[in-house]
């Protein structure tokens, strides 16, 4: 169901065009048509393809974040396939005799030697290796920022909870895929990372040492870990990621894209541009832009120069060992957890100084993230479909929770660089660590409060703008000698953006009555829900109503009307 306006200004340019229907197709077009016809005779695909080509996507820069993630993933797949042609996933010993002089004659694993071969002796090998690593980093960054967008705009609400969960699993798998990938070259840095991973796994209660011997096929490092990581990195994980990604995209197509509130946009429509031709060009072109930017970065900025680290050996180590950024928060947690959390009793050791950061944190983050939509839905009791996004300010508590979460994550990530900070800032690493330990518990509360206040202020500013319009800076003197500043009108289109959100209020506890007319006592769950609902909505700012606007116009300075919105009782649910 599509409608377009009939008269377009550009039509004048096309006045001389012959109408499409009478144009005779060129020989080439006839040939393509013939092939398409042959396929359609056998598949009946024309209907579906026609529908997809007319599908409408709304336009907004933040919708491109998910695209960046998708394209980086595809680029990593393409470049990764190229790398498999030369990479040897083996820890078999060899002596390097390639063209990188400083390492000639050094004993190393075949994995490391083949990585050096790709970097120095395969034409174009280094650029592809760098593209692969940069694309992987870009992938994880884009996934995370895309999740921010979805979270802060409430796009995860019904009917998209399922896709949010799929996305959370994808984000977790992306990190595991990244770790298994950068561990493959078997250089000193990545080997130290694997060593730390071995230490993590070993601390798992009861089964730790069995797990380690299972993963490594015997004592660390053994010769099994690189081939096993390779099989996970190029086969198992990509298969799962591509499967989930396909489901993710299919759901986006089936549920249609969300859109920001705006004039003409409702919960029942999608306003935007059709795939053919606009999005085919824009989104298709954007793939090339993302690829091009990654290629440019890969051309000029060196990443993971493994030849500088040397082959892995459990005895030496480089100072400033850092994992790729997305493992940083887990590494940081390990640096902050104090040693006294390790306990020994009855001849058994429980390492609570390692396990929470190394084994629990990563899955826990994604479980919390994945569960959030269901928690929020339980609190709000909102069972409707939502296709219009919320501006983050219009959901102050959710926005504040998100920012608090990001703060905790960031503190951990900064903690992973405590040694670098100590060196660069000439500070005591002990002080930095103590500070970050405190910050992990204190900063989220501060950030929560500040974010919520900012959101509420922005909402009030919106109300102010709607009620009193824009200050023009023009002072007018009346014939009686009074001065006032002229306020310029908002068009109804500008105003709509500021008032199109739902008024909200906390749910009220009410006595329930069962079938026999007997009062059911309130359960602790009900009280909890009411408390949480108050926490979410007790100081919600409501949108301006036409009545309030009329009143404000009447007296000209209705400051009380701005505040009045806070506790306005009009609730629609």
């Amino acid at each position: 169901m599509m409608t377009t306006a009939n008269a377009r200004p550009a039509d004048a340019l096309r006045a001389d065009d012959r109408p499409v229907s009478t144009r005779t197709p060129s020989a080439g077009a006839r040939k393509i048509g013939g092939v398409a016809g042959w396929v359609d005779d056998r598949t009946g695909a024309a209907k579906g393809v026609g529908y997809l080509m007319k599908k409408v996507f709304p336009d907004h820069w933040s919708f491109m974040l998910g695209e960046i993630a998708m394209y980086s993933m595809i680029i990593a797949l393409i470049s990764g396939a190229f790398l498999t042609l030369w990479f040897v996933p083996s820890m078999g010993h060899t002596v390097y005799d390639g063209s990188y002089a400083p390492l000639r004659g050094v004993e190393m694993s075949e994995a490391y030697a083949s990585t050096l071969h790709i970097s120095f002796d395969v034409r174009g090998g280094l650029i592809i290796r760098q593209i692969h690593h940069w694309a992987a980093l870009m992938f994880v960054v884009a996934v995370v920022v895309h999740m921010f967008r979805v979270f802060f705009t409430g796009a995860f609400r019904k009917p998209r909870e399922l896709n949010w969960v799929i996305g959370s699993v994808l984000a977790l798998l992306a990190i595991v895929e990244g770790f298994s990938g950068y561990s493959l070259p078997d250089d000193l840095l990545s080997g130290t990372g694997i060593r730390a991973m071995q230490g993590f796994v070993q601390t798992a209660p009861v089964i730790g040492s069995y797990l380690v011997y299972g993963i490594f096929g015997g004592p660390f490092p053994g010769e099994a870990i690189i081939p096993r990581l390779y099989s996970a990195h190029i086969l198992l994980l990509p298969a799962v990621i591509i499967g989930l990604f396909t489901a993710h995209i299919l759901l986006v197509a089936i549920q249609k894209h969300t859109q920001y509130p705006g004039p003409g946009r409702t919960n029942d429509n999608v306003v935007g541009f059709p795939v053919m031709p606009v999005y085919a060009a824009k989104a298709g072109g954007f793939f090339f832009i993302v690829f091009g930017v990654i290629a440019l970065i890969a051309a000029v900025i060196s990443i993971n120069p493994v030849w500088g680290y040397g082959p892995y050996d459990p005895s030496p180590v480089t100072a400033g060992s850092q994992p790729d950024w997305y493992m940083g928060f887990a590494d940081g947690a390990l640096r902050l957890l104090p040693g006294w959390l390790e306990f020994t009793a009855l001849g058994y050791t429980l390492s609570l100084n390692i396990m929470p950061g190394a084994l629990i944190l990563l899955p826990l983050v994604y479980v919390v993230v994945g569960v959030y939509p269901f928690v929020e839905r339980w609190i709000t009791g909102d069972d409707r479909e939502h296709h219009l996004l919320q501006r983050p300010r219009n959901a102050p508590v959710r926005t504040a929770i998100g920012m608090a979460g990001i703060t905790m994550y960031s503190v951990l990530m900064f903690a992973a660089a405590n040694d670098i900070m100590a060196i660069k800032l000439h500070m005591s690493i002990n002080d930095i660590t103590y500070f970050l330990r405190t910050a992990f518990f204190v900063a989220p509360f501060i950030v929560f409060w500040v974010t919520k206040r900012i959101c509420l202020s922005l909402q009030r500013a919106d109300r102010n703008k709607v009620l009193h319009q824009r200050e023009s800076g023009t002072i007018i003197r009346t014939p009686e000698g009074a001065f006032f500043e002229r306020h310029e009108g908002l068009s109804e289109y500008e105003r709509w953006k500021l008032v199109d959100f739902e008024p909200v209020a906390p749910i009220q506890l009410e006595q329930r009555v069962d079938a026999n007319g007997v009062e059911k006592p309130l359960t602790g769950k009900d009280r909890m829900r009411a408390r949480l609902s108050r926490f979410y909505f007790k100081d919600a700012v409501q949108p301006v109503t036409p009545a309030e606007l009329a009143a404000a116009h009447h007296d000209g300075h209705g400051h009380e009307a701005i505040e009045a919105g806070e506790h306005a009782g009009s609730v629609h649910r």
Partner: protein, 374 residues
């Protein structure tokens, strides 16, 4: 606004039934609002503002040329890539201001590729933005939920199918099928789990210092071993270890192994330091050393990184991975960071020729903690 919204008291009913002003009275009071709507109404799409390319043929022509130029840039980029691939020596380097010396071919391949890709990308987007229609199109949504009839039909089909297969009438089939499906993962999973690796047995608690290879199933018998420099593999005379010096040490014979060098190194690596005995605060540390020469495991008790940084002034050992700090003057106990346990000390002495040798193996497991470590 939402299709699932139910009508509320006071809602205006569909015009065709009762006329535009009719309201429901069966669900409560209706409060009038003086002709002012309760909420603002969506004003609809704003009028379309034409672009310059819509209005002027000259601007459209200019945009066409810009798009073509970007596509041409892409072609040039590809040519640069191909020329660089065939003509530039893979070992040639060049100086790039702000970056330094880098491989010339790598740089040209990357820049050529980037130009080839960005030309297409920017060209297509510019084309879409300037010449393709920018009038927004509206597509309607429908609720995700299937109709009740469709849902009921699915349930009916399933029930009918079960009925036709007689699954409820023949419990024997139902339960054996359940059992078979539940168990069939075993043949797939068992060989994977069973074949992953050997049981650790005691090997996490043993090192090469116990007398030789310490893998699973191997129980070496202790003989004193010389402390050898890593990687030179030469023995160390006590007189060579001056105050303030640090040696990376491995047990004699480890580097001569045919197999398992890295596995043994990962547990047996030792740091040898000499302190002024007056600085050592723990009697056991002095007793297990030799005239202030002390040997400690180099494997961090946190997660197993090599403890690679030694501060001579303070006699602190620092692990570069997670900054656990050990004080050598206090039997390498943890004074900062996430590790709990002190680095295990290796008891040493000197043999007849004056070389440092081990007097006993480590008395506890080295490296990261594990459950049954004790």
């Amino acid at each position: 606004m939402n299709e699932q919204d139910t009508t509320r008291a006071g809602d205006v009913l569909p015009a065709e039934e009762f006329g535009a002003e009719a309201v429901r009275l069966d669900q409560g009071h209706v409060v009038g609002h003086g002709g002012i709507p309760e909420v603002f109404q969506n004003p609809g799409l704003p009028p379309h503002a034409p672009r310059t390319t819509d209005l002027s043929e000259a601007a459209a022509k200019r945009a066409e040329k810009q798009v073509a130029a970007l596509f041409a840039l892409s072609i040039v980029g590809t040519i640069v890539f191909v020329l660089a691939y065939f003509l530039v020596d893979i070992r040639a380097t060049t100086y790039v201001p702000g970056i330094g010396v880098m491989a010339l071919q790598h740089l040209l391949l990357g820049i050529g590729m980037a130009a080839a890709l960005l030309g297409i990308g920017f060209g297509a987007v510019h084309w879409a933005k300037t010449l393709m229609p920018d009038e927004e199109v509206v597509e309607m949504r429908h609720p995700m939920r299937s109709s009740d009839a469709d849902r009921a039909a699915v349930v009916q089909t399933l029930t009918d199918g079960g009925e036709a297969a007689q699954i409820n009438r023949r419990p024997l089939i139902k339960y054996t099928l359940g059992g078979a499906l539940g168990l069939f993962a075993v043949p797939v999973v068992l060989p994977v789990l069973g074949g992953l690796g050997p049981m650790p047995q005691k090997s996490l608690s043993l090192t090469f210092w116990n007398g030789g290879p310490s893998g699973p199933g191997e129980e070496p018998t202790f003989t004193p071993m010389r402390l050898m420099r890593d990687p030179e593999n030469t023995p160390i005379k006590a007189s060579d270890v001056t105050i303030g010096s640090v040696f990376h040490v491995l047990p004699e014979g480890l580097l001569d192994l045919e197999h398992g060098v890295l596995e043994e190194k990962a547990k047996a690596a030792v740091l040898l330091m000499r302190l002024d005995p007056k600085d050592i605060k723990v009697q056991k540390e002095i007793d297990w050393g030799h005239q202030g020469i002390v040997a400690y495991s180099k494997i961090c008790t946190h997660v197993g990184c090599p403890v690679g940084l030694y501060e001579q002034g303070t006699h602190h050992l620092l692990c570069p991975c997670h900054q656990s700090t050990f004080d050598v003057t206090q039997d390498c106990k943890v004074i900062f960071g996430p590790a709990k346990r002190a680095l295990p000390q290796l008891k040493i002495t000197v043999d007849d020729e004056g070389y440092l040798v081990s007097a006993q193996p480590f008395r506890e497991a080295v490296g990261p903690s594990f459950w049954e470590r004790g």
